[in-house]
Amino acid sequence: MKILILFAHPAFERSRVHARLIKAVRTLPGITLRDLYEEYPDFDVLPKLEQPLLEQFDLVILQHPFYWYSGPALLKQWMDLVLEHGWAYGKDGTALKGKYLMQVISTGGNAHAYSPEGHHGHAVYDFLLPFRQTAALCHMEYLPPYVVPGSAHIDEAELGRYADGYVQLLQSLSAGTADLKALLREAEAIAPGGMPGQLPARFS
């Protein structure tokens, strides 16, 4: 399937995790990378430009750091402006029907922090509810997120493993070899406190 990565990072020049992930996947065939903060430094997202673009892809990946339990401001601006009534949702809004949505995020906290006993009290997946429901409203299938935890302290070797995992995930998705049904089931089965991101063996 054709994959579009919508990448949103307001301080990419200082990023370690995303710099590594982007570097790993940017040249993969069948992948289109769109750097939102580079395209729209003035926040004036152009729906008329974005919509036809989205229509060309089968899978939209939102890649971003996890800020305040959500995405960076521009990603929200993009959603506010592009996902129009009558196009993305509503009575005649079927432009995205049958497409897949997936998030690739980095969190400051580690797996434990995002658990009921942890610092944040909920699983990352729970915090992603607005995105999940956005996908549902736009008739899209929400794939389980790919999470890189503890971004502040992650060591190079670990980061490398995450980058390789990301590449393999994209390759199998783009080649159509990934078991989408299993992935969707996994998304549904993730229990609160569960931590998708430690990839199942089928990707390694």
């Binding site: 506010d80 129009e84 009534h85 509503g90």
Partner: protein, 621 residues
């Protein structure tokens, strides 16, 4: 139709203006020379379309000179004069006095009587304001030291015309009754000292009248709100002054000048200026056509070498005086050269003063004819002289300084960015880049500014960025980006061409003044074009919306939308170089734009901006 009918005359003169002035402008000769050329061609020497009527015309057209002096008088704001008092009085004053005495002395050596020699010296000390200001503005040098000095000198010269007109009658040889134009004078037969007293009295009367009569009258007229009545009053004012002055045997031009000065600070100044300006332009045009028509070519044919010698001699003397004074007033070498090369021609006022002095029997008609030709030729030579100066002399001097710089340059000081042009526009770019940790190499044409920046520790080259050597020494080979921000579009285009030719790898970011200018740059293949004022104008517009109570975010968004649209339509319009096509396309785009940004732009924008429409707010709130 009889040849002498008024309409036939008007036809000939107006047609001459319309044909020759654009032609002269195209050849970079300036409008004054266009009028002269036209006059020469329709005059008795060539086509003979105007015969004796040329003389009658001169009487009528001299009124243009009167108006010009009125306008110059109005330009003289005391505050400006005060600010520039040192260069105007010092540099300007010395230039006129020294040149007048030098040329006068030379004329006496040639056997002229002292009074004629002095008159000629004074007249020839003047330079052409119109031509010089045009040239310096085109070169973007008005702000430089040379430009400021030239401006001061020209201003003083314009003012100096007044005392000259006042002194000339006193220099008239005894026994001549003065001046055709003073035939109406009441005091023509009085001795000189009486005249002088009368002159002073008249001037005093003018000052009082101006204050206590003219202003109240203008006030009443202005309140009628009839535009043509105000124009009539403006003309009446000038005519009345001229008539009054003639009655007391003074030059009308002098009176008009004084009248202008009196009104320089009044609230009606701009109104008066814009009313009289077209009349002045037309009449002055006629005047110069008349001068052209009355140039005596027989004389020049008889003695071409004398004329040529006079032209060259006068220009050399003036050049030397200017150069010496420039040095005295601490102009740096290259600025001084520019200053001295710009001003050695004789000015358009010389025609006025020569025809005045011929009328006043100050100078023999033959000599005046000769001088008129000399003045015209010296003006015509100015653009050529400037061209030669740029091509052969300027490079030599700036090369010398480049050599010195090049030794001081070390390779590790090469920067990725070059900024060509560092006036208010370029400085902001430079400062911003510096604040962002990006050093840049700066090139500028204003050597004083360059010195200042050097003292501040910036690496700046003086010189013309359209020259290969300078670009090379500034590190254009190693640089990646050049910001072209010279003061004039012409200069920017030159730099663009030079960069395209010698350093095609450089990314060019170019300053443009307006759309027309941007099209030129697009045609030259420039991709990054920045129109000077668009962002500032839009920011101001944004603030207007905000002050009217529009939400700040929507105001800003509207401005950015407008600019995107504007850039798009600019690119679209650049495809239409044919004016008619352009106008139609522009009309369509303007209509589209109006549709988009009209009074209720809010709703219109929301049609494009459905992101925050009620429909899209999930909560329907």
């Amino acid at each position: 139709m009889s040849n002498e009918s008024f309409f036939y005359q008007a036809l000939v003169y107006l047609a001459t203006m319309v044909v020759f002035v654009p032609l002269a402008k195209k050849l970079n000769l300036g409008s004054v020379l266009g009028y002269l050329l036209g006059g020469i061609i329709i005059g008795p020497a060539l086509l003979g379309l105007i015969g004796q009527s040329g003389q009658d015309l001169m009487h009528f057209a001299e009124f243009g000179v009167v108006m010009m002096l009125f306008l110059i008088g109005m330009e003289l704001e005391p505050s400006l004069l005060w600010k520039l008092r040192a260069p105007i009085l010092g540099l300007g004053g010395l230039q006129v006095v020294v040149t007048a005495f030098l040329i006068g002395g030379l004329a006496m050596l040639c056997g002229l009587p002292w009074n004629e020699a002095l008159v000629i010296g004074m007249i020839l000390s003047l330079s052409s304001t119109a031509i010089v200001l045009q040239i310096l503005t085109e070169k973007g040098q008005m702000g430089s030291a040379a430009g400021q000095s030239a401006f001061s000198v020209l201003l003083f010269q314009d003012i100096a015309v007044i005392p000259m007109l006042a002194i000339f009658p006193l220099l008239a040889p005894a026994g001549t009754t003065v001046a055709a134009e003073e035939s109406g004078s009441l005091i023509a037969n009085q001795p000189a000292w009486v005249k002088t007293i009368v002159v002073l009295g008249a001037v005093f009367g003018l000052v009082i009248g101006g204050r206590y009569v003219v202003k109240p009258v203008l006030h009443i007229v202005a309140r009628t709100r009839l535009r043509e009545l105000f124009t009539a009053s403006a003309l009446l004012l000038v005519v009345a002054i001229a008539v009054l002055m003639t009655l007391v045997g003074l030059s009308p031009a002098l009176g008009a000048f004084l009248g202008g000065v009196l009104l320089a600070n009044s609230e009606y100044r701009h109104e008066l200026e814009s009313d009289i300006e077209p009349f002045k332009g037309l009449l002055l045009g006629l005047f110069f056509i008349g001068v052209g028509a009355t140039i005596n070519f027989g004389l020049i044919e008889q003695s071409p070498w004398i004329v040529a010698g006079l032209v060259v001699g006068i220009m050399i003397v003036k050049f030397l005086v200017l150069a010496a004074l420039g040095k005295l007033f601490r102009l740096s070498r290259d600025q001084n050269l520019l200053f001295s090369f710009a001003l050695p021609q004789v000015g358009e006022f010389a025609f006025v003063l020569f025809s005045f002095s011929a009328g006043a029997k100050l100078l023999p008609q033959q000599l005046v004819d000769m001088m008129m030709a000399v003045v015209a030729i010296s003006m015509a030579l100015t653009p050529l002289v400037m061209l030669a100066f740029e091509k052969f002399i300027q490079p030599r001097f700036s090369n010398a300084s480049d050599e010195e710089e090049r030794e001081a340059d070390s390779i590790d000081e090469r920067h990725a960015v070059i900024i060509a042009g560092f006036d208010h526009f370029g400085t902001v770019i430079g400062r911003f880049l510096r604040a962002s940790g990006v050093p840049a190499t700066v090139l500028d044409l204003d050597s004083d500014r360059v010195d200042l920046l050097r003292r501040m520790g910036l690496k700046v080259h003086y010189g013309d960025a359209s020259r290969f050597e300078l670009l090379k020494s500034a590190g254009a080979e190693q640089a990646a980006i050049i910001v072209i921000a010279m003061a004039t579009p012409e200069k920017n285009l030159e730099v663009v061409e030079a960069v395209k030719k010698h350093f095609p790898h450089l990314r060019m970011l170019v300053r443009a003044v307006d759309n027309a200018d941007a099209f030129e740059l697009m045609n030259a293949g420039v991709l990054n074009i920045y129109r000077e004022t668009i962002d500032t104008s839009l920011r101001l517009g944004t603030d207007v919306l905000k002050l009217l109570g529009r939400r700040a975010y929507q105001s800003q968004r509207a401005a950015r939308m407008f600019r995107r649209f504007d850039e798009k339509s600019l690119k679209g319009l650049s495809a239409f170089r044919d004016d008619k096509q352009y106008v139609n396309a522009a009309k369509e785009r303007i209509e589209e734009l109006q549709k988009m940004i009209q009074a209720d732009a809010y709703t219109n924008m929301m049609i494009r901006d459905t992101g925050w429409e009620r429909d899209n707010a999930e909560e329907r709130n």
